[in-house]
């Protein structure tokens, strides 16, 4: 097998220090997909940042742009149909979007690694798990087969796979779901990346295994100081591990806050809706609360605030004109709602209009069109 030729790291990586800014700084990112129904605007000016050793949760419903954001940072979007139409992704001060593909590949896997949701389909079915982990060392570090195997087994031990050496030669389908996700994690941390992006890492797992996997991620992060971006729709998962939370809606960050503060007093009606819809053990009667309607069709995002058709506080100002900007509220917190101060103060009154509570798409669609 040909040795991978050594590609130089982008200039600026070596000289960067944390005082130069955030480890990862995403600014005004825009991503579009060409679809049969027109351009789907998956990400519309998302901005956020991540520092060393920090855990940032990106929270949102399906279709809010979480996964697309992750794949854009990794540079693994399929284009076409996807194209990045604007913005910057600064990693160690270098804009990844401007790097040539060869140098981008140095970052991928080595500096920024990713854990996918469904490890069964994300691992190659025809290669042993050991081989797939060892491949990281062989390709990126030019290790020999034996060296790579030793390191892979150490990694498997580190993510608590019992009998790691014996299971090196097993195939993905021979593992349980939780073990497979551990293999994924081992593969992603192989080269000690500075950023780890976990895209719904526990969604495919049952609850007890979910907790074990999150515990493992927390442990590894404490050990290595990796910056972790945790993409999820599960507020329960976030509460335990995240330092900060970014709430995403229709491809935009609508609220940024420290995890505790967001849970204590959400500063955006959408965050509030998400929190209210967590089932609670101490409420045994009545219907479960849900946010009415559906996320917007990305080919025709409502004018004004994208959330307005589903928002129980929406006023005329929300339905027309400019998108409300993300306003800094101080204390590491920002929100993109016109009425944020009233909302936080608890004085905001619902507009009294019936928000569609059914989940029938037709009704939701109609509601969206009226806006």
């Amino acid at each position: 097998m040909a040795k991978n030729k050594q590609i130089r790291e982008p200039e600026g990586f070596a000289t960067w220090t944390p005082s130069d800014g955030h480890l990862l700084d995403v600014r005004n990112l825009n991503v579009e997909f060409n679809t049969r129904d027109g351009k789907a605007k998956a990400i519309n000016g998302a901005s956020f940042h991540l520092d060393r050793g920090e855990t940032l949760a990106i929270l949102g419903e399906s279709g809010s742009g979480k996964s697309v954001t992750a794949q854009t940072i990794m540079g693994i979007l399929d284009s076409p149909p996807a194209s990045v139409t604007g913005g910057e992704i600064l990693f160690r001060g270098v804009d990844l979007l401007k790097l040539p593909e060869e140098q981008r590949r140095v970052v991928r896997g080595r500096k920024i690694a990713m854990i996918f949701q469904d490890a069964l389909s994300a691992l190659n079915p025809v290669f042993t798990v050991g081989w797939q982990i060892a491949e990281m060392f062989r390709v990126h570090r030019g290790c020999s087969k034996a060296e790579a195997k030793d390191m892979a087994i150490k990694l498997m031990e580190r993510v608590n796979i019992p009998g790691a050496a014996a299971r090196y030669g097993n195939f993905p389908h021979q593992f349980s779901g939780g073990m497979r996700q551990r293999i994924m994690i081992a593969m992603s941390i192989a080269l000690d990346p500075e950023i780890l992006i976990a895209d719904e890492p526990t969604t495919a797992l049952d609850v007890t295994v979910q907790a074990q996997i999150m515990e493992l991620l927390k442990e590894l992060q404490a050990e290595t100081g990796t910056g972790l971006i945790l993409i999820t729709h599960d507020l329960g998962v976030v509460a335990d591990v995240a330092d900060r939370i970014n709430v995403m809606y229709a491809g935009r960050i609508v609220e940024q806050a420290e995890a505790k503060e967001l849970y204590a007093s959400p500063a955006h009606p959408y965050s509030e809706g998400l929190l209210n819809s967590i089932p609670r053990l101490d409420q045994s009667t009545g219907q479960l609360v849900a946010i009415g309607g559906l996320p917007p069709n990305l080919t025709k995002i409502p004018e004004g605030c994208a959330f307005n058709p589903r928002c129980r506080y929406a006023q005329d100002v929300c339905r027309t004109g400019e998108v409300p900007p993300l306003v800094d509220l101080g204390g590491n917190r920002s929100s993109a709602c016109h009425f944020v101060s009233e909302l936080v103060a608890g004085t905001l009154q619902p507009n009294g209009l019936q928000v569609v509570t059914g989940i029938q798409p037709a009704v939701a669609e109609e509601n969206g069109d009226q806006a």
């Binding site: 991978n4 794949q71 990794m74 693994i76 399929d78 590949r105 140095v106 970052v107 991928r108 896997g109 080595r110 690694a113 990713m114 996918f116 469904d118 389909s121 994300a122 691992l123 190659n124 079915p125 025809v126 491949e135 990281m136 390709v139 990126h140 195939f171 389908h173 593969m187």
Partner: protein, 306 residues
């Protein structure tokens, strides 16, 4: 693995007995095999009696069949009505059929897979459309047209290839092999293209990209093997089918192969030859099937042969 192969071979025994019995029954029992042997007129009684005695035709079917099977186990496939032994005919004809099959398989695998990769890697490109249209053309042309036209153009007019293959040498069999392999070539091209395209958009290829691997490695190592699994099994099954000879192509190019023998035997109502040949074909097909299944297990670890 060893026990798997053994089990499969043991399973073949009832299959062979069942199929040969069916064939024997259909050929010998559905109508007297001497009918139609003597042109427009009925055969002389002496001839009918001789044949009946030789093949135990007056005994019950089971007895006839068991006696036949006993002979086959000793390598005696019987003697054709024209006096040659079926075993001799098969020994002479099989190498020719084998050669045509090899040429066809190599051609269809090489060109088919190459065209499939070309189309699969650049979906919706000019190459993809070219492969789509040209395979469509090949699939829609009946093989006797393709064979006759190829013989006329490349054999007679351009004289690039031999017109007929009466001796059954490699050189002579080149053009018939290409004609025979062209239909499967078209199917292999499409199968490879779709399989590759599917795998390229799979989650594990996205993982490979996220691992920072080069494009060549992503396609060559992480996609290729997965994509070839259905193609290899198709080629294996096709080889089994090709070993049965090709009646149309063998007739066009006058090839002394198995296909021509079967055709001729059916036409002349040569019951012994038909049963003997088809018994062998069943065997070849079963063995090819076993090999394909073993290959499948070797290529795809999810298929276990414990």
């Amino acid at each position: 693995m060893g026990t798997y192969v053994l089990r499969r071979i043991l399973q073949m025994i009832p299959v062979i007995i069942g199929t040969t019995f069916l064939i024997y029954w259909m050929v010998f029992s559905l109508g007297d095999p001497t009918i139609g042997r003597c042109g427009e007129r009925p055969c002389p009684q002496a001839y009918v009696d001789k044949i009946h005695a030789e093949y135990n035709l007056d005994q019950p079917l089971i007895i006839q069949y068991v006696r036949y099977l006993g002979k086959v186990l000793h390598g005696d496939f019987g003697t054709s009505f024209n006096g040659t032994t079926v075993a001799d005919q098969l020994m002479n004809r099989w190498p020719v059929t084998f050669k045509v099959a090899i040429i066809a398989i190599i051609f269809e695998a090489l060109i088919g897979i190459a065209a499939g990769i070309l189309a699969g890697l650049r979906r919706r490109s000019f190459w993809d459309s070219l492969v789509f249209v040209s395979t469509l053309v090949i699939i829609s042309i009946p093989s006797f047209v393709l064979g006759s036209v190829a013989q006329m153009v490349f054999g007679v007019k351009l004289q690039w290839f031999a017109v007929t293959a009466t001796q059954g040498t490699w050189n002579q069999l080149l053009l018939p092999g290409l004609v025979l392999g062209s239909l499967s070539m078209a199917y292999i091209a499409r199968l490879t293209r779709n399989s590759l395209a599917d795998n390229l958009s799979s989650d594990f290829v996205r993982t490979a990209r996220a691992k920072g691997l080069s494009n060549g490695r992503i396609v060559g190592i992480h996609t290729f093997r997965n994509s070839l699994i259905p193609v290899v099994t198709f080629i294996g099954a096709d080889f089994g089918a090709l070993m049965g000879g090709a009646i149309v192509t063998e007739r066009i190019f006058n090839i002394p192969g198995i296909g021509g023998y079967v055709f001729q035997s059916i036409q002349t109502k040569d019951a012994t030859a038909v049963v003997g040949t088809i018994t062998m074909l069943v065997l070849v097909f079963l063995v090819m099937n076993l090999i394909v299944d073993l290959l499948y297990g070797a290529l795809d670890p999810r298929i276990g042969h414990e």
